[in-house]
């Protein structure tokens, strides 16, 4: 239509136009110049940039640092006239990133293998007949790369036009709107109009489970999800079927994505083909406030960003942390946020004489507890911290219970006899990122896939990158990498310790052997013997050296490492059975039957989970998204959560409740602000105050005394029965209930 009127005006006799030129300013002739006809002609007509121009200095994209493995192996390439030194194996795209130029891409991801099928990263390289796919082309010395020439721009426009041809007009109803790579790149690099007038193709949706919503019509076949599933998650669930425009991503057989890392494909997919099913149609990304905090569902402490809208957590997104979780989080971390909205305790409650709970004010509740605690002998007071407790609240609880005269305060998960004298005996000594350097793994009584999914992802990465050997002793389990099942119990461990097992040769020949012991073994009666056997294996195979410490202990709960650092250990086995006053600070895994019937139980927590039913007084506390707390992960890395949403109802922070209770009980704790609590922690465990720093263990196994006990023959039992329901928040979550009903392997 646009061509018609103006063109017809232009075809009129030229004299009329010349005469009426000044007044008819809206008339103009259609003029085409040779530069506009083709990109090559445009390139020819562009003026040459003056030689020896002083260019401004450039920083790599995203403030990244370039790591040169070999200083001599650096190559020099020229990106847009700017000389930059890159290591030898870098691709053109990576060289441009070092030079500060961000090249658009869809299928390339820095943590996945190279596919090169989207063609969006095309750049012009001198002396090359056609533009090259920068993600796949290795950078050669002296290459001149040009990213802003007309050829490169035309290539991008063309690729974008092709991608949008079959892409449905779903932006208003697509969840990825606002954070969609396709939207952003078409605005930045695409042309302003398309020329497609035929019918678009559509693809049938696949059912991948209750977590990942698929609208396969939007898929641009970048294969990022396929590569992620096979490389990082280790499951070969997804694949590309068909050819050409009939290509479909799917599982071919009617299979759900049962991997515990399946939620990460949602982040990886550049378009709205794979989105989060629980988050579908709930919010747009620009109305959410992101808060950078830490996850507490397991002992890894993955870095997350909590997106909230007002008082409600809408979704959880991973944050980059190269040392701990890279860019991935497990499904439990990602989808258990809706448990924060259900079964929440919001008012202090006291159990009436007829057995029902009655909501009271804080004054009355604390007065009642303060009264009762003085009627009990000091030895009968027991405090148990829960698996989601932060270091501040555990410090205040320990101080309070100790000042009341009792030594019975521990964190759930630490059985009798676990001593916290030497830090190496409960930390992951090679650090999670250090596991990448190991070449032989021996997993003793641990299933990292369900206990700490990020550690498992790291082991999978090591196995894939350097063909590391993995062997495990424990109940038969599903692993997403090749591993040998050596045995089920302490017998196999004894054989390896004495050198009779065929696996010992693999351990001896390994350069960096790693032994990972699960914290579930701490609860066994023959724990000392088993740990002594492990340490003898470590000594025989040179596992602990000055440059490499491969003896690792994988903790189960977020609060365990900090609890052991602060000294919350269980010293007498009879403490709970003879208790008259039990203070449960979020402790739901305590065996409620062990508490005597006449004991007075105070439950302080944020969810009405198992232990609430036995409590006499309920004090509502805040969850990890609502408080600022210090957590130490299993490798000794201290991190802090940040409050993202306000507390529910009349709840208070954990440490404040214990501090107020101590004041009402007449015990004077010397601090009344969080800085005071932190300075008290500093005098007990100073590594908990240095956030974002890892404090390795100071001493090795050489200091431990010899153990005289013998091992029993009971095989190792799995610690986590249901991966999706391990703490109070996940047990209250509807999404986790759906997952455990549908996705658990039977």
């Amino acid at each position: 239509m646009g061509v018609g009127i103006l063109a017809s005006r232009a075809i009129r006799p030229a004299s009329r136009l010349v005469r009426s030129q000044p007044s008819n300013l809206f008339l103009r002739t259609i003029v085409s110049k040779p530069e506009l006809q083709s990109p090559e002609a445009a390139a020819v007509s562009q003026p040459e940039p003056p030689k020896n121009q002083i260019l401004p200095p450039r920083n790599p994209v995203g403030g990244a640092r370039v790591h040169f493995t070999n200083a001599e192996d650096a190559i020099e390439v020229f990106v847009d006239g700017y000389a930059v030194k890159v290591p030898k194996g870098f691709t053109v795209l990576q060289a441009c990133e070092v030079a500060g130029v961000d090249i658009p891409r869809f299928c390339y991801h820095s943590r996945l293998s190279i596919a090169g099928n989207c063609r969006m990263c095309l750049v012009e390289v001198e002396k090359s007949p056609k533009p090259v796919a920068s993600c796949a082309m290795p950078a050669l010395p002296g290459m001149k790369i040009k990213t802003d020439t007309p050829i490169a721009k035309k290539a991008r426009e063309g690729v974008m036009e092709f991608l949008l041809m079959n892409h449905p007009l779903d932006c208003p109803i697509c969840d990825q709107g606002g954070e969609c790579d396709l939207q952003d790149q078409s605005m930045a690099f695409g042309s302003d109009r398309g020329r497609f007038t035929e019918m678009k193709r559509s693809v049938v949706d696949k059912n991948l489970g209750p977590l990942v919503k698929t609208v396969m019509t939007r898929c641009i076949q970048c294969t990022r999800c396929v590569r992620f599933a096979s490389e990082v998650a280790g499951v070969q669930d997804l694949g590309m079927l068909g050819r050409g425009s009939g290509e479909e991503i799917g599982t071919y057989v009617e299979k759900l994505m049962t991997s515990e890392l399946s939620g990460n494909v949602i982040d990886i997919c550049p378009v709205g083909a794979l989105t989060s099913k629980p988050f579908a149609f709930k919010a747009r990304n620009w109305e959410l406030k992101g808060t950078e905090t830490i996850d507490v569902s397991d002992a890894v402490g993955s870095n997350i960003r909590v997106d909230s809208r007002g008082p409600e957590v809408m979704r959880i997104i991973p944050r980059l942390n190269e040392d701990i979780n890279e860019e991935w989080i497990s499904d439990k971390t990602r989808f258990s946020y809706d448990g924060l909205k259900r079964q929440r305790l919001s008012d202090p409650m006291i159990r009436d004489s007829d057995g029902r709970f009655k909501a009271v004010s804080w004054r009355d509740a604390l007065a009642v507890v303060g009264d009762i605690i003085h009627q009990v002998k000091p030895d009968e007071i027991v405090g148990i911290a829960g698996q989601l407790s932060d270091a501040e609240s555990m410090m205040v609880l320990k101080d309070f219970v100790n000042r009341m005269g009792s030594d019975n305060v521990w964190c759930e998960g630490t059985a009798v006899g676990v001593d916290a004298d030497l830090r190496y005996s409960y930390l992951m000594n090679s650090s999670i990122s250090g596991l990448e350097n190991a070449d032989v793994f021996l997993l003793v009584g641990t299933q990292p896939r369900v206990e700490a999914a990020m550690v498992n992802a790291r082991i999978c990465k090591t196995v894939r990158a350097s063909n590391a050997k993995v062997a495990y002793i424990g109940p038969p389990a599903d692993f997403n990498y090749d591993c040998k099942h050596l045995g089920t119990g302490p017998d196999t461990l004894k054989e390896i310790a004495e050198g009779r097992h065929p696996f010992c040769s693999a351990l001896k020949n390994a350069k960096n052997p790693a032994i990972i012991v699960g914290a579930g073994l701490f609860n066994r009666t023959d724990k000392d013997a088993i740990l002594a056997a492990v340490e003898s294996i470590a000594q025989a195979n040179n596992v602990v050296r000055p440059d490499w410490n491969g003896l690792n202990y994988l903790l189960l709960y977020a609060a365990q490492a900090a609890a052991l650092d602060l000294g919350l250990i269980q010293q007498s086995a009879k403490a709970l059975e003879s208790a008259k006053f039990v203070y449960l600070m979020g402790a739901d895994d305590v065996d409620v039957d062990k508490i005597p019937k006449d004991a007075f139980v105070v439950y302080q927590g944020h969810h009405g989970d198992k232990a609430v039913y036995r409590a006499n007084v309920i004090l509502p506390a805040s969850a990890f998204t609502e408080k600022e707390g210090t957590y130490e992960n299993t490798e000794g890395f201290t991190q802090q959560t940040v409050p993202a949403v306000p507390t529910v109802g009349d709840a208070r922070d954990d440490w404040k409740i214990v501090r107020a209770l101590s004041e009402v009980s007449g015990v004077n704790l010397p601090y009344n602000s969080i800085e005071g609590v932190r300075s008290r922690i500093k005098s007990v465990a100073p590594n908990l105050v240095h956030t974002d720093e890892r404090e390795p263990a100071a001493f090795g196994p050489s200091l431990k005394p010899e153990c005289k006990e013998t091992m029993s023959t009971t095989p190792f039992k799995p610690v986590v029965e249901n991966f999706y329901m391990t703490n109070a928040i996940t047990r209250a979550s509807k999404i986790m209930a759906q997952c455990s009903a549908v996705l658990l392997k039977k």
């Binding site: 805040s622 507390t647 208070r652 922070d653 404040k656 501090r659 004041e663 009402v664 009344n672």
Partner: protein, 148 residues
């Protein structure tokens, strides 16, 4: 008390037509120096204390508060601004105080206003309660809210 009210009303009778009478014992806006401003402050205080019985009668504050407490409150609010030295500023503060006093005496306010603003303040009635006497700031803040 009847007489006093009558006498005050007689002073303003030329403005009885207006629903809310304005006191002409107001503060003319110009004080020459600090001494004159001080004099005006004390005059204002006297006028306010003299209208306390009227106020207690209008708003039925007999069982709520004693006249001495009200005098204390008024003097405390004047003392709040004891550090001011500029006569013009003092004049303005007095003007506002007079405005407030006129409103109260003219029954332009209601009982809950008086009780909320002049009887139960941040520390007035709470402090006399026996519950929170010996408690620390931490505990008081803890009972109010989580964020302190």
């Amino acid at each position: 008390e009847e007489k006093k009210r009558f006498s005050i009303q007689r002073l303003n009778k030329h403005q009885m037509a207006a629903p809310f009478t304005l006191r002409k014992i107001g503060v003319p806006p110009n004080s020459a120096n600090l001494t004159e401003a001080r004099r005006r402050v004390f005059d204002f205080f006297r006028a306010a204390c003299r209208s306390i019985p009227t106020i207690m009668d209008i708003y039925n504050l007999q069982d709520v508060v004693a006249p001495s407490q009200l005098r204390f409150t008024i003097s405390a609010q004047i003392r709040n601004n004891a550090h001011v030295t500029d006569p013009k500023v003092i004049d303005l503060l007095l003007f506002k105080g007079m405005e407030e006093l006129t409103d109260i005496v003219d029954h332009a306010k209601q009982r809950h206003h008086i009780i909320g603003q002049y009887v139960v303040g941040e520390g007035l009635v709470q402090n006399t309660g026996s519950k929170d006497q010996g408690k620390s700031d931490f505990l008081k803040n803890f009972y109010t809210s989580n964020y302190f």
